[in-house]
């Protein structure tokens, strides 16, 4: 039972029910703690930022604050998608920092019960593992609970090394 301790420690630190905002990316459901969500905005044009990773779609004017918008598809190495009427930006507030997260569509706000939680099986070597807090079984669907802090911390927003004058490639990270 190698995973038992991981499960215990995970459940110990999050043994309460959590209200989650759920959204969809490429047919997979994700959830983030609603306490971190400040607002949901429809997609608006953002100003692209030079010398930045491709998943930073650009900077958004949020009532006077200049906020980075992260394309979660590109962050997770999925294909970019044309924006349509259901594309939204979830504005999250972590510490004193604001960030926008671009997702395909928001679905619902649900309460994830303690007994709906599932531990994440251990697997090696995938960088995106650090963004995942755990899994939840909601009816017959599996939802991935994301760690908002990890998604938007400045270390993770570091630019990819890039020579000046080179056009940036859009696509998988």
């Amino acid at each position: 039972m190698q995973t038992a301790s991981a499960v215990d420690s995970y459940l110990a630190q999050t043994n309460t029910d959590t209200l989650c905002l759920t959204f969809r990316l490429s047919d997979q459901d994700y959830g983030i703690a609603i306490s971190k969500v400040q607002e949901i905005r429809e997609w608006t044009k953002v100003t692209p930022l030079p010398s930045s990773p491709s998943y930073i779609r650009g900077m958004l004017n949020l009532r006077g604050a200049i906020v980075p918008v992260i394309d979660l598809r590109l962050r997770f190495g999925l294909d970019a998608l044309e924006h349509d009427s259901s594309t939204v930006i979830i504005v999250v507030n972590v510490g004193s920092r604001l960030a926008g997260i671009l997702v395909d569509t928001v679905s619902d706000v649900i309460n994830v019960d303690y007994d709906q939680r599932r531990a994440l099986p251990e697997f090696e070597g995938h960088a995106n593992r650090r963004f995942i807090d755990g899994l939840a079984q909601i009816d017959d669907r599996l939802m991935v609970l994301l760690n908002v802090e990890k998604l938007v911390t400045p270390e993770d927003l570091a630019p990819v090394p890039q020579t000046a004058g080179e056009t940036e490639q859009r696509g998988a990270v």
Partner: protein, 686 residues
Amino acid sequence: MAIDIRQFHQTFFDESHEGLVSMESALLQIEQGLSTALPNQATTSDPEVLNTIFRVVHSIKGGAGTFGFGWVTDFSHLLETLLDDVRAGHRQVDRPIAGLLLRAVDCLQILLASARSGSSVDPAVIEEVTAELEALHLTPVPAMGIDLAATGAVAGKAGTWRIRFIPKANLFFSGNDPLRVLRELSTLGKLHVETDMGRLPPWAELDPEICYLGWTLELSGNVTRDAITEVFSWIADDCELEIQSIQDQSVAPKAASATAGDSDADQAKARGTSIRVSTHKMDTLVDIVGELVITQTILNQTVAQFGPDSGQRLNAGLAQLERNLRQLQENVMRIRMLPIGFVFNRLPRLVRDISQQLGKQVELKISGEGTELDKTVIERISDPLLHMVRNSLDHGIETPQERRAAGKPEIACIRIDASQRGGHVIVEIEDDGRGLDQDKILKRAVERGLVAANTKLSAEQIAELVFLPGFTTADSVSDLSGRGVGLDVVRNNIYSLGGNIDVRTQAGHGTHFTIRLPLTLAILDGLGVQVGSQTYILPLTSITESMALAPEQIRRLPGGEEIFQFRQEYAPLIRLRRVFGGTPGADDINTGIVVVVEANGRRAGLLVDDLLGQQQIVIKSLESHYRRVDGISAATILGDGTVALILDVGGLVGAVSAPLLNLNSTQSAAVNRPASQSSSPVRALH
């Protein structure tokens, strides 16, 4: 429950600092008075000046006692004792004493800084001054002062005193501590304390934040009434106080409280009318106003699309809004403004110390100290300014002998002036010294490899050389300057504030530096430029001019770098579309415009698609929610609500270009056939 008095620390440090500044200028004033008087003539110092000094020391001592900064208390007590003698007329302030007092000011600064930051202090410095103060203390006071004590008021008479001290119930709320008073009294003489607990309520009704106790004190020893009232002066309003001489019961207790009241009023006057506002609150206000400005622009654009008929009334309203907004903005910005006198105040002391050290005679003339600048600008201009004055004293001003030989008055003059012109503040630093030695500068620059040996430079260009890194003309590295921190650092500091600096000089007649600073850092005059589908903002101060270039005017160096001729020099060309990636497409020199920019003494041309016009923009940090981005200094919000990035000209230019003059000399050799066709300026921006 104790009141956390640490919340008052900041106020104490601020006030102490302000106090020491005024004490320093008072001492310099006294010293000035001494130097104009005949050597052996005793000058009668203005009592108000002495009182200022005394008040400062006393306030610091009292505050430090309350907060438990023992070192500060001890030191200021020693100082106070000396000042007491002076104020009572027992001792004259002569040159050595004034000098000692000035050094004591430094010690207090050091001690306060250490109390504030918890850093350690070099005890040797403090001990030296302490020892001198104590030595002075032991020297018998000259006899002349004695008769004053005899004729003086009863209040000055020493003896044994009975003091009834009953603090008001709310004493603790004003941050005062009766224990401090008792502790201080016990340093004056032998103190006998009886505590009056008559006001103590039953335990259940006791409010721990109320002061219930009173004291009857007997103080014996050679103590004057003045000394006792001084101790109580901080809390005179918050207590009932009776001071009676045991020998002479007839002295009216009223007299004591009157004295205390006077000194309080004096203190209030000395502090002046100023407010302290937290920078955070200010920044919020500035942000809100910035947003209003943006809203107004948005509305303006909406109306512009309506057409004049439908929008006429709306237009009138908008004009009003615009006017109100401007006023609001100006006023809010003004709260952040401080008079530049905050920096100038430090100069007299600096000039005094250095001119004494160098044996030079210098008169400092300061004007325009009321000119206001943004607090941040003030803080960041302070060190460069001091450095320049130091430089001028060290290199510019000659010794009295040299001046006499040159037929100039022995006393040199350094003139500092500040004035506001439009959106800028001009600071001028002028001396009547020897001026910059052009031959020496050029020789030194060639030695250091800053310019090629055979370069022909104009007088202005030579003077500009002093701003290059690693440049000093001082023959020997002195304690004052020539430590590698040169005018290049000064200039970089000024550039980073969005200002610039010029120098004019005439050999034998002096040097004149002119610094131009923006009034504020929150708003910037910018030029919008189109690059691909994006709008970028260039700070107007960094733009030299803009022009169209023909493809044949661009040379390609072996490394692939492109350069073009600008006036008599060659500058690198930066194609912004390539730097910022983004939209591929026409990168055409025929349709684009080259904006020539200069930063940190380097020049470059930025190729943009179009110029969009000049506008005032509100600067927004990228770092508050994201991080620093290369080539971008900040962001702003345009009239349509979208974000535009402000280009970091210094970073862009620095990445591709060598220093201006260096580039000039080395690269004109690399390009053997300079373009004969001169470039045609499209729009001169300055």
